[in-house]
């Protein structure tokens, strides 16, 4: 149904906007794995998005790597960083992870800013190659030709749509798997889960890695679409924005996270005349949602119980 959207609305700006929101949807679904399913907080999610974007940018500029090869590489590199960052914090306690990731987000942004020789410093990297696909052509005879995506948002829209579908499918399958059930068990009661023989640290770390991988993919798509990456596209506000999307839509619900991304993605367009108050409204919204509807718009019953359960004393 969404695939028909470009046919109904031919406004290029709207299509571009929808593609941007689609990237938010990917990010929100990815962050949801950590925040919603594992019950851990990642406040530096933009850093993994940035790593994905810079990895593809560097590969494209120096090695002329095609997008389709850069895409998995971006994801894997982001995942690798996820493991390195997640390990020390997850081992200790959940809320330290929040701070470590926050610090990591800062380090990555500062590093991209300062390592001018490789990253172009504050000016960023430009001239990143757009994706190319083999498309069927007819020039007297039937053949295939390598066609670049070009400047129109249309192919990116479909690319993002396909990615969302693949990631959503993958996440639904994952959550129904042994791994997904282990993750939910840990979130519900870590002690009981570890007593049942679930390797708590490994499972949490895996969730963190999957989440970082998805952010890396989103970063690669973003870099290919914009053809330019700068460090200030990946600030703390972006991390908080994605978190707000997950929280608003419903932690632990795959469609919830996507819905949150759509709502908050389009909100700035709707609130255009209140642009200055936008971030203020986000802050208030986060507080109100946490107090009155901690499970978000589409939060499941399971997470609802978890979020309203009395905190255990003595912690």
């Amino acid at each position: 149904m969404l695939a028909l959207f470009p046919l109904l609305d031919r406004n290029a700006y709207h299509l571009d906007l929808a593609t941007g929101v689609g990237i938010y949807v990917i990010l929100a679904m990815g962050l949801n794995v950590v925040v919603g399913f594992a019950g851990l907080l990642n406040l530096g999610y933009a850093a993994f998005f940035a790593i994905g974007a810079y990895v593809y940018a560097l590969l494209s500029l120096h090695a002329h790597t095609p997008f389709w090869i850069g895409l998995p590489i971006s994801g894997v590199v982001a995942m690798g960083f996820g493991f390195v960052i997640g390990l020390p914090a997850i081992r200790v306690r959940g809320d330290y992870l929040a701070i470590t990731t926050l610090g990591f987000g800062e380090i990555v942004r500062i590093a991209f800013n300062n390592l001018s020789a490789w990253t172009g410093g504050p000016n960023g990297l430009l001239g990143i190659e757009r994706p190319k696909i083999w498309a069927p052509t007819w020039k007297g005879h039937f053949g295939f030709e390598l066609i670049s995506f070009g400047v129109s948002a249309l192919p990116y829209f479909y690319l993002v749509l396909v990615l969302i579908a693949v990631i959503a499918f993958f996440l639904f399958r994952l959550m129904d798997s042994k791994f997904g059930r282990a993750l939910v068990a840990i979130r519900e009661d870590e002690l009981a889960a570890s007593c049942m023989g679930i390797p708590v640290v490994q499972i949490k770390l895996c969730a963190f890695g999957i989440s970082s991988f998805i952010a890396g993919l989103a970063g690669c798509v973003f870099a290919a679409k914009q053809t330019i990456v700068t460090p200030d596209s990946f600030d703390f506000i972006l991390s908080v924005l994605i978190l707000a999307m997950v929280v608003l839509g419903g932690m632990g619900n795959i469609w919830g996270a996507a819905l949150g991304a759509v709502v908050l993605g389009f909100l700035p367009e709707i609130l255009r005349e209140f642009a200055a108050y936008r971030m203020l409204i986000f802050g208030v919204l986060m507080i109100l949602v946490m107090i009155f509807r901690p499970q978000g718009i589409l939060g499941g019953q399971l997470i609802r119980r978890e979020l309203t359960r009395p905190i255990k004393e003595g912690s």
């Binding site: 020390p88 809320d95 500062i110």
Partner: protein
Amino acid sequence: MSAALNLFLNQLLNGLTIGMVYALIALGYTMVYGVIGLINFAHGEVFMVGAYLALTAIWLAASFFPGIPFGLTLLFLILFSMAGASILGALIEKIAYRPLRRSPKLTALITSIGVSFFLQNAVMLIYGSKEQSIPDIVPMTRLKIGAISVSLIQILIFSVSIGLMFFLTWFVKNTKTGKAMRAVSENPEAAQLVGISPNRIIAATFILGSALAAVGGSLFALNYGSINFHDGYLAGLKAFTAAVFGGIGSIPGAMVGGILLGVFEGLGAGYISSEWKDVFAFLLLGAVLLFKPSGIMGNNVSEKV
């Protein structure tokens, strides 16, 4: 004296100065964590609001009592900033955190990010998004002690911070409220059984922590001569690092952690690179979590469910 030693001493001094400010903020993090187990992300913003309140106090003093001695302005700005931040701290606790007293950590943590965002943007809307410069109310005299020169503001920072740290130690150890705070952080239920009202004590902790952060903010603003609405975020983050470094929940830990972090940063900026200054704190945090998660003075804090 040799130039190398000179550089070392000056960087040490700069580090100690900022370290005092980190320590003042870190105390608020560690006290709130000790009492309700919450990482209060909004605490850095309280520090920033404290700095803006100090600026407001300078404006007020300049327009209502022009020409009063700088000592009085200083006293007024610190008291004004402490009072304003205390009210803010109490309000934050009552409006945002109290309804979530029985919710799990993640809920309160996300709420505190919401509060932090709200405060940052409220300050931006009120004072503007540009950097505000702080009028020089403290004379620029520098004292020469051997090869190092100390500014009057630095002496002020040292004396006020150390004074407040002694006061806090005394307060927590000897007063009724202080003892109740320790009781609540030890065991909230048992504290309630002996007639301590946890809500009152938690509110008192927020007020005390906010007042200390406000003093830190005022001193920071005076020392650097300017303040911006997003200064609280980074300072808060580093102060939290300091609290973890010292051992979260431990008051002397926060003091030592703050000062050491400041020194570490000052020396790092002087000897390695000032561009990477902000990275050192986070590398330190990573190292602490990896090798000694309980911090230098903390109790053993393995994950409890």
